[in-house]
Symmetry: C2
Subunit: 187 residues, 2 copies
DNA sequence: GGACTCATGTAAGCTGTTACATGATTTC
DNA sequence: GAAATCATGTAACAGCTTACATGAGTCC
């Protein structure tokens, strides 16, 4: 789902500025999507041209002027239709898995470092999702995504803890630890 | 990690054609990355221009002519360096989570359908990874990625099974089931 | 005869990121 | 006084996908 559609969706939850939407991406959407200013502001512009949103300017005394966007009836209907059409799917992009896939080409210390890095990442994300659980005002759907995210992260951390040592042990004993270059001459 | 680097990595596992590499993306890399012909062939071309790979043509009798690529010493070194530099990270892009996040805007039947769709997806992917577990010739790193993938998918399926009914129940009783348009007049 | 697999490649276009440009206010 | 937060936007570019173009062999 493109950023434009997601911006429209964000505005279906309440009026907001481009800046507010960026924060939504950084917080609520963070564990399943991302977007930068460079895609959010042009998206809002296009949405307005298409009549899906409108805006009014709030003059600021204690903050800069802000453009507060609001979804139109037409925009809401469009989002609903797009949502219903979207097939349920998921795509992981994991540099960590790439690293593991080619782990036999890396020195053990580096592998160890990557594992530690990933564990820290997972822990941090889990902490964040746990902090969200305490908050109120979530729909049942949002609770579901948070709950699922937490379960998955716990599984990943468990998996790391239980298989880390085995992996590192067999990594050190792997064939051609240092003689990759020699193998090549056999052609 | 860009497709070009991944192609170089693929060739570090053995000589291959562009077509072979596409299959690798569809199979082995499938659960953490993807790429199409339109990015693979140009990548191989660039890699050759840069001296990271070379190729020889295998004339086919029972199959079309194929360009068999091989990594050079320089290419191998470059890949190793790039691999060691790559930070361990992960990014999920989930339309399913988006759907759940906005679930309160969808009719219950549609939500139900999306949940079923996702369950089918997860089951299919789990079956595939389970079929891989039986195969031999995996490095410990690859086994790790497969094992982790399986654990995660089982967790997701479990979560779906345990929370599906609760979600659907509270979805049907949600406020403003059908009166989204009325709410709007209060501005 | 039709569908699928094997095999290579290009061109147009979409989507999004990074970096730049600007500037006020608030917090430490 | 420095750094962070609030706030908006553009331009250049990267990277990838989709669709097209082509064609032989194999399996049902």
């Amino acid at each position: 789902m493109r950023v434009k559609t997601l911006c429209l969706g964000a505005l279906c939850l309440g009026d907001a500025t481009g800046y507010d939407i960026k924060k939504l991406f950084e917080n609520a959407f963070n564990h399943f999507h991302s977007a930068s200013f460079g895609s959010i502001y042009p998206s809002l512009k296009k949405l307005e041209e298409e009549g899906h949103v409108s805006h009014r300017v709030e003059a600021g005394e204690k903050h800069p002027d802000r453009k507060l966007f609001r979804v139109t009836d037409e925009g809401r209907a469009t989002f609903l239709a797009q949502l219903a059409q979207t097939p349920a799917s998921e795509q992981l992009r994991s540099e960590f898995m790439v690293l593991l896939f080619f782990a036999h080409l890396l020195p053990t210390e580096i592998l160890q470092q990557k594992l530690a890095e990933m564990e820290a990442h997972y822990s941090q994300e889990l902490n964040y999702l746990e902090s969200l659980s305490g908050c109120e005002g979530h729909t049942s759907g949002i609770d579901f995504t948070i709950g699922m995210g937490k379960s998955v992260l716990r599984t990943k951390l468990d998996y790391l803890h239980h298989h880390r040592e085995t992996l590192l042990a067999s990594h050190q004993n792997r064939p051609d630890s240092q003689n990759i270059r020699q193998t090549e001459s056999s052609s």
